[in-house]
Amino acid sequence: MLHRESGVFKTSYAADMALYPLPVARWTVAAFALLFAVILPLSLHDYYLSIINLSLIAVVGALGLNILVGYTGQISVGHAAFMSVGAYTAANLAVRFDLPFWITLPAGGLMAAFVGAIVGIPSLRIKGLYLAIATLAGQLIIEWVINHTPAISGGAQASIEVPRPALGDHQIKTQGQLYFFLLFFAALSIVATLNLVRSRIGRAFVAIRDQDIAAEIIGINIYRYKLLAFAISSFYAGVCGVLYTYYLGIANYEQFQIGVSIDYLAMIIIGGLGSVLGSILGAVFVTMLPIVIRLVMEPLAGLFLSAGELSSVVASTRLVLFGALIIFFLVVEPEGLNRLWRNIRNYFRTWPFSY
């Protein structure tokens, strides 16, 4: 991830597709694993772990959306609705049938995948902005159905309280325990996506994105793969919704409204469309940046302002700064943070002996 050879020396497809192109990459991954599995949880306060937890959940959702939008080129504004499908499926299973998380979590994902494939049907006929409107309709219909079906939503408040996930007799409850719970699923989805995009399916997705007619001519069943992209993407969204539900202890459809869909689109656009690292960077950027801006601003502004004025100024300025930083990064590199990172890395590829 961090290191690269000084040129392109690959002579076989296998070498080109390898997840670890160099031995040193293996060590980098091991170092990251050590950092996230041991050093961070031991050294950080619960508060900082809670921020990482929120980012980990967002990473799962962003990866799913990037498979659909970034890799397959099918725009979707209904991602949050698929999260709510997963969330309510898991909540109902957990409460009514008392099922553990290792059943409810894939069940939530599968139900979301099913609903996602149905919402994806219009993609067989329409593209681009038209598809965006069709998925927007999907978002609103799913919201409406949950809101008006007590059998799904569990009553007028449309929220279902869910017990904490448990491993054997041990409840996963504190931020530290939830961190490992979420880290496991985030890591799993990262590895799954990395492998998906270098498989036949992943390449078919990319072919459809780049030119669907050409893809059809070389023998890709477009309809099947488009629906598969919707299903896989929604599976991730469903899992993300289930993780939210277990993290908060409640499924509530107001947490998955249209604004959240837009947030996730923002994540993958800022991070970089069609890249796994981009999804991660984007999710982390959008989740953490507002918090970091506030943590930096609070002590500085506190020198000049009273508590009341401070909150008003910080809240508004933070929004302006957040927007400005997004514009800044997108102007510097329209292809997102992932491309920015690759540019930096490529520069150092031959440094200090470039030419």
């Binding site: 809670s50 809101n147 107001e254 506190g302 909150s311």
Partner: protein, 414 residues
């Protein structure tokens, strides 16, 4: 010296000042209150008026020596009406050792209910969350502290009964509601009352964001022809409802709005007081500046040589609610400190303090509520204020309505 080094030194100096400042603060007797706000999100029209009221009341208390000798530091975090920032805010509050926190927003309240219980920090949710949270046994750390939608619905019916001459037999009431869980919440209460009082009720759902309701209003005024309209709307939609009903010639004094359809901003957006003349609003805190505590806040500003806060002028309804929340928070802390004989209370002590609030009316701004372990709503008191001659005028005193029936419903859901 290179510029980089210079900046480093300045940053280090600034850091040292901040560190010294916070160390000095920590040595004083201090309590930390957490406050979630929405100054930038979709409901920021409420946050920008409500939160300054909160800060002003706490500043007033601190200028008079704090609560029982403890200064209060408010840590406000803007949650943008989103759930992840609200979760982050709660964890931050926990890290800073808050003794209580003010929640903001229904989904946020729902999302934090479990966390609050696990962390043993109480959260107040006036006008948010669920009516079921009134039951303190079921939800030990969530405090609605103000009338829930059930109590507001019961209050509205009681008010209508009074206005229509003491009987609702054969009358027709239209319920113009926002099509979300909050809008649907009072329905069981209305259904029950329709049976016992003998009136006919019909629901007219307005989909979010509720800025288009011509069809619903036409249905109400043209076909259903009710004797009274209850409007339970949020954001921009209350003003649209007032304008539409007025446009169809429906008498404004036959309309009553729930607490989030009840601020000066709604009336102004509907076209001013002349348009809304007669419109009735349900309130859970006093309105206007004719209260001793508001006068004290203004005197404090005057003593500092500053003008009175503009939020107070433009929306006393919401500003006073901020003062109301701050006052209840401070009173809970005061009870807790007294119970501990002047020692610093924990968050659990403050919860016990909250559950012993009684007879604290702040000159009429706060209803005569009594918060107990069973009743976290404090009795479900409401007051009706009516638009009259260019301002909101009090229409009767604080009252509770159909309390036994609400208790019955609470027992059924919890």
């Amino acid at each position: 010296m290179s510029t980089g080094l210079k900046w480093l030194r300045i940053a280090a100096a600034a850091g040292a000042i901040v560190a010294a400042g916070s160390a000095a603060l920590a040595q004083e007797k201090e309590l930390v209150f957490g406050l979630q706000c929405d100054r930038t999100g979709p409901t920021q029209t409420i946050g920008v008026f409500l939160c300054p009221g909160y800060h002003d009341y706490i500043a007033l208390l601190n200028s008079k020596g704090g609560v029982e000798g403890f200064k209060i530091r408010v840590l406000e975090i803007d949650n943008e009406y989103k759930v992840p920032p609200a979760v982050e805010a709660h964890e931050r509050f926990k890290k800073e050792g808050v003794v209580l926190e003010g929640l903001y927003g229904t989904p946020q309240t729902m999302a934090l209910t479990k966390k609050l219980e696990e962390d043993k920090i109480l959260g107040t949710a006036p006008g948010f969350g669920t009516a079921a949270a009134t039951d303190g046994k079921r939800y030990p750390y969530v405090f609605p502290i103000a009338a829930s939608y059930w109590s507001q619905g019961a209050g509205a019916i009681a008010f209508i009964k009074k206005e229509l001459g003491g009987s609702l037999k054969g009358k027709k009431i239209a319920y113009l509601m926002y099509d979300n869980p909050a809008g649907k919440e009072p329905l069981p209460i209305f259904e029950d009352l329709a049976k016992s009082e003998g009136f006919e009720m019909r629901n007219f759902a307005v989909p979010a964001p509720g800025v288009e309701m011509g069809a619903q209003v036409l249905d109400i005024t043209g076909r259903f022809k009710p004797d009274f309209v209850i409007a339970h709307l949020f954001g921009r939609s209350p003003s649209v409802a007032i304008r539409e009903l007025k446009g169809k010639g429906f008498p404004m004094n036959r309309v009553i709005g729930f607490v989030w359809a009840a601020s000066e901003a709604d009336i102004n957006a509907a076209g001013g007081y002349a348009v809304a003349n007669g419109y009735n609003t349900i309130q859970f805190a006093g309105v206007g500046n004719d209260f001793p505590v508001i006068k004290e806040i203004n005197a404090m500003y005057k003593a500092q040589g500053k003008p009175t806060p503009p939020q107070q002028e433009s929306s006393s309804v919401l500003y006073n609610r901020g003062v109301f929340i701050a006052a209840i928070h401070a009173e809970a802390a005061r009870n807790a400190i007294k119970a501990k004989g002047g020692a610093k209370p924990t968050s659990e002590d403050v919860r016990n303090g909250m559950e012993s609030i009684k007879g604290f009316t702040l000159g009429g701004l706060v209803p005569p509520m009594e918060i107990t372990r069973e009743d976290h709503e404090g009795g479900g008191w409401v007051q009706v204020w009516t638009v009259k001659d260019g301002k909101l005028v009090k229409n009767g005193d604080w009252f509770q309505a159909y309390r036994d029936m609400i208790k019955k419903h609470l027992a059924a859901v919890n």
